[in-house]
Symmetry: C2
Subunit: 326 residues, 2 copies
């Protein structure tokens, strides 16, 4: 697929993105997010044209519960990186956005300084559809940002349901932002989020240094018992204060160290290959479900069969077999 | 579906099971476990005939890592229950059985006393197929045991992968058997198994009483932070010594108390309805996967597309779309 197959309008979009034009990038992402059938086909073609120019950023996933200070942290990090000549894109996956209209990044003023800079591009969570759909669109937006010359892409998510797994599944390094209190730790361990983390960061360390030291020690002993998310990488536990800007520099050194260590044995490329394949299977699964649920025979027979299964008058196996035959 | 539609041989099986004949029950389960197409159809018919006579037991799931003392515990519990006039069936789900030939219940001599009693029926894990397949067959065997008059069905599993979820999804009460050491706790919390538990039992409490007290306290504080597996039920944490028989009686009082409390507001029936429906969906999902993987077009195109996705020359979305069109 080359750009010659594109319509005039879409060829201009592709050209604009490759020329690092922010407006073209924003319009491209809007096209990719659209649910209209003709838009989806156009979006697919635009994305195929951008694909050879993508992949050249470091992709950083950042997760944390509401109130942990994600926006402040990302703003501080973004400003530091821009100061060093980087171009930074910030995307979000908010599984609640379809219901609430979005609880994160819905308001760009939450990153006041960063949102005013030309070297930054901030995009709120797509609001339509299921988590899988939201994550799919963010994944595509990430590729478009890379084609537009952003060499650092940050994907932010709030700690709800499966969204951390989705973000860890599309980034090179996954950062868990925590508050220094034990309940937060246990929740994260329990939900398997700590297992996904390549770096754990305790924010608001300035408020109670002693509590932070304890939380760090507890997290380290928990991590010692878990499988590392990434082979050949010992998960560091950092302390920062995003509001005061403390520890942001060390954080970036850690990410850069991770990148160098991983790239030295091809681990980032391998991770991306594995992620892309896993994503394909994820989409196939969604597609199979949708097709099943849209089948008229299934739609018609399902209510009565589901009732019979619940009443115990037919086994789940027999009902499943019947439904699969439509 | 009535028994009149069955062949002579199968009608005799059904009659035998309903007459509480152990040999007929064993042959029925073997038929249900068979992967031969004709056996599967016969098994389906036999099961439909038994279905109206099933459901009258209390279904107890017991999970724990190897070495926790599951067999000793189940034997002690089984002997106590038989002494009180119950009939006890013990089934197993061992996800490793298809590879290793089975690490649990493969050898009935592990429950020496129980296996010699007429009031007990012990059946090792089915060995064929995926975990889903193994669990499906165990679920059907459970229904057959109930039709054969066993009023207590114990489903045992070893703590590997998803098998706890499968067992919790087919039983009325899910028991987590633990050793009194913190590493074991953390593993169980991390893997989300504690969240499934209705009762937590520390075995080998006689070896180090102090360590056990500590483990109990830790588990109680962890449970306080988690959602209870079952509404209106506070998960008790018990101490036992299965080898010495200590605490088995109290354990049974706890299970009986659970049953009475749950039955008083219809919660067991509601749980079974919900489980049956979830199981149907699980089987539908497996069926959709299998059909996709068996599709000749998919089989042919998949290797090249998977390679292109990994190489980044096609997006996961485009590859998924193409494969779903076969």
């Amino acid at each position: 697929m080359t750009t010659t197959a594109l319509g005039e309008q879409d060829a201009a979009l592709v050209k604009g993105v490759l020329a690092h034009e922010r407006r073209a990038l924003a319009k491209t992402i809007t096209l990719l997010e659209s649910t209209r059938a003709d838009h989806r086909e156009r979006g697919r073609q635009v994305l195929e044209a951008l694909l050879p120019h993508s992949g050249k950023s470091i992709r950083i996933g950042i997760s944390g519960v509401p109130g942990v200070g994600k926006s402040t942290f990302i703003e501080a990090l973004g400003m530091l990186l821009i100061g060093r000549g980087h171009r930074v894109a910030v995307l979000a996956i908010d599984p609640s956005s379809s219901i609430s209209g979005g609880s994160i990044l819905g308001d760009k003023t939450r990153m006041e300084q960063l949102s005013m800079r030309d070297e930054a591009f901030i995009r709120p969570s797509p609001s339509a559809g299921s988590l899988g759909g939201v994550a799919d669109k963010t994944r595509e937006a990430m590729l478009a940002c890379e084609a537009a010359g952003f060499d650092i892409v940050i994907v932010e998510t709030v700690g709800v349901g499966q969204s951390e797994t989705e973000v860890a599944g599309m980034t090179d390094v996954f950062v868990l932002l925590q508050l220094p209190n034990a309940g937060d730790d246990l929740q994260a361990i329990k939900k398997g989020i700590v297992e996904l983390a390549d770096v754990v960061v305790f924010n608001k360390a300035d408020i109670d240094l002693r509590a932070t030291e304890m939380a760090v020690a507890q997290m380290q002993s928990a991590l010692a018992l878990l499988h590392p998310a990434t082979q050949h990488w010992k998960v560091p536990v950092l302390k920062i204060s995003a509001t005061r800007g403390d520890g942001i520099d060390l954080f970036w050194q850690t990410i850069d160290g991770y990148r160098q260590s991983m790239e030295s044995h091809g681990a980032i490329a391998a991770r991306r290959r594995q992620q892309a394949l896993a994503w394909m299977w994820h989409l196939i699964e969604s597609g199979l479900h949708q097709r099943f649920n849209d089948n008229p025979g299934v739609k018609h027979a399902l209510p009565a069969l589901a009732q019979a299964v619940q009443a115990g008058t037919i086994t789940p196996s027999a009902a499943a077999r019947q439904l699969l035959n439509y």
